[in-house]
Symmetry: C3
Subunit: 285 residues, 3 copies
């Protein structure tokens, strides 16, 4: 069976940091396959780290160990924790909110704390600023390789004690759908909302229906337009907006072959909310 | 024998898309090695996708499976196809022109269509916008691992039926060489033409000869200069232009330790053509 | 035992160059694991290449083969060399200064030259501009896989004959510490000096002491401030500067959650020097 260790950081790939994490993990075991989630999480952006885990973890084989190190509090008293998700994956990360989306949308079975004094790369005690290498890659590789099991990482802690970021729930009331714009499909600038496809079905919205899309920033309307609920980007003309189902089976808003985010200066996070409804039918008599 | 799956996309590495492709492929098989061609193809740039395959495929072991997903028409009626190249490699890609250079310069033995309904990641039916994960990585891993063989991907289609982009043939007439500027050596800004070294030999051009280089955009002259046909960049001074043989044994034009493309605003594609000839000898009497 | 080949270049990941290196190495052997140090060394920046090797090599298993190709002199008479480091790793690289930091700070046991005519990818003779693929990845894979041993790469040469870049030694005199700013922690903009933690101990500087930090460019003072010697970034407020111990157990200077380099326009290299001392105590009577 494959033994996978998958790394996520905000370190970028421009220096030797990620490579040192790979090297340390390979020193622990030459029997694991190491891959990346992404290393381009914007610096200190725990929300993005949490979302990218939610987006990706379940597409990996059960038992895969994820290490996620977006860690503005490195060296402080924030804990290092390891989670076993309900989907059968492991995530090792600072306790700073990185598990928010997985906990909320997919579930976590058990969380343990890691003793940063005992469980660290031997002879790394003098450095307090690179736990990605000294704590996370090291323990991730020990767990992925089977050198230790999950219980050996440290004592169980309650899920209620871990840090989480505030989330806005998607809602549906009288056929009006509301949610937040959680993240971008980065290269293409499409908006990914937290409104599930199921809500569109509840509101009896079908492919090819015209929808009214309204976007708010801190409650203030910043965009409104009517666009098609399209099955694919190619269903609308180049340069035309559309509503579509993204790869997490949530609702996305995009412009075919352009960046919605850049064109209309739309950002992400709980400050950015969105409302969808069937467009009022205009009847000419 | 190694079982290699190599991925190319325009998704970038900034979010979880490429990692989800890796995960799906590893779920299919833990017996394959997955690597990247590049994920930084400019969005929707099928020409670049086609060229990067041409540049890279033959340097991988025979039997390697390439998956190339630059797919502006995802979810439309464009086909998904799989090619067996004359060099003994496999490429799985949307049928939108991504095979143009391989077909033209290296040859393809057989092409098959993939049934997107039957041959897809189980339970991925609701999403129509991420075939990279649901169709291409999934089938690429099945082929690379040997779970299925090439014939099981789907029925044979004629090479005449696949989409190709227009190519300008390099030519040589009366010692004058002409061709197109197909692509950049991205980090360094050197121009890669489609003029083969063989043409220089036919025109009796030797290393250290002075050549007249003329560049046209849509037929209009935009650059002309005399420069050396150098064996290596170090044969000219820093900041000096040169003609050289690139890693595909075609003719390149560069500035030593600077970007020719940026300095002279030269782009790529069939709109950008180039002419080379021995520089007229100036004889002072 | 794992057989690791680790690649570093200034090629970027935007085209097919790095992938062709991977492919060539896999053609040599399907029994090696290939990973990256970084491919984003600034073009032609041999100093950065040398530093990133120094930063990373020792965190990989002994026997790992590194290939580092920052090679402005490709195709010239500069030699190709292979080094066995005192830490038990191998580095194959152009002889242009890439071994400067490893040689100075960690030590090299033996250096050999590679015959670029005999030891190259078969049928690659026509191209003189991509030794990364034709010489370095090829020989790196032969060494990593055990197809050849170190002695078979070529004859021994003296360490005195290889190219090195000038280094400024860190110094301590009368409790004043001086050194150079060698490199950035790229994504975060922190300054990494060559002053070791040991010097702070000698100067009896403890965590939480206030230090006076002065930065010079070509000998001219460009920055001076008083800041804490913090155990971790979280020990100071967001936006506040600090002195800290970096992951190589050298002294770093940073701003918590901001870029020191960008805020104060500080660069790297031997032109950029730094002085640290205990801040004079101001006593109000």
């Amino acid at each position: 069976m494959g033994k996978y260790l998958v790394l996520q950081t905000d370190f970028g790939l421009g220096d030797g940091a990620v490579s040192a994490m790979y090297g340390v993990a390979h020193m622990v075991s030459d029997d694991i396959t190491i891959d990346d989630l992404t290393h381009e999480i914007p610096p200190y952006d725990i929300w993005a780290a949490s979302y990218r885990l939610y987006q990706t973890v379940k597409y990996w084989p059960k038992g895969t160990v994820f290490v996620s190190v977006i860690d503005p509090g490195v060296g402080s008293t924030r804990r290092s924790i390891a989670a076993k998700t309900s989907s059968g994956h492991y995530i090792i990360t600072p306790d700073n909110g990185s598990l928010t989306h997985i906990l909320h949308y997919q579930g976590i079975d058990e969380i343990r704390t890691i003793d940063e004094i005992k469980s660290r790369l031997p002879h790394s005690e003098e450095s307090h600023t690179f736990h990605g290498r000294d704590i996370y890659a090291y323990n991730g590789a020990r767990l992925a390789s089977g050198e230790i099991d999950f219980a050996e990482l440290g004592p169980v802690v309650s899920a209620e004690t871990i840090e989480t970021l505030p989330i806005i729930e998607a809602s549906i009331k009288q056929q009006i759908l509301e949610g937040s714009i959680d993240v971008l499909d980065i290269r293409f600038g499409s908006l990914w909302t937290n409104i599930p496809l199921a809500f569109l079905k509840q509101a009896d919205i079908q492919h090819d229906d015209q929808l009214q899309v309204t976007i708010f920033h801190q409650g203030k309307k910043v965009y409104q337009n009517i666009m098609k609920f399209a099955k694919s980007f190619a269903d609308v003309n180049i340069g035309e907006p559309l509503v579509y189902v993204n790869s997490l089976v949530n609702i996305g808003v995009a412009v075919n072959q352009d960046s919605f985010s850049k064109l209309y200066h739309i950002g992400t996070g709980t400050d950015w909310t969105i409302q969808l409804r069937k467009a009022p039918k205009i009847i000419f008599e």
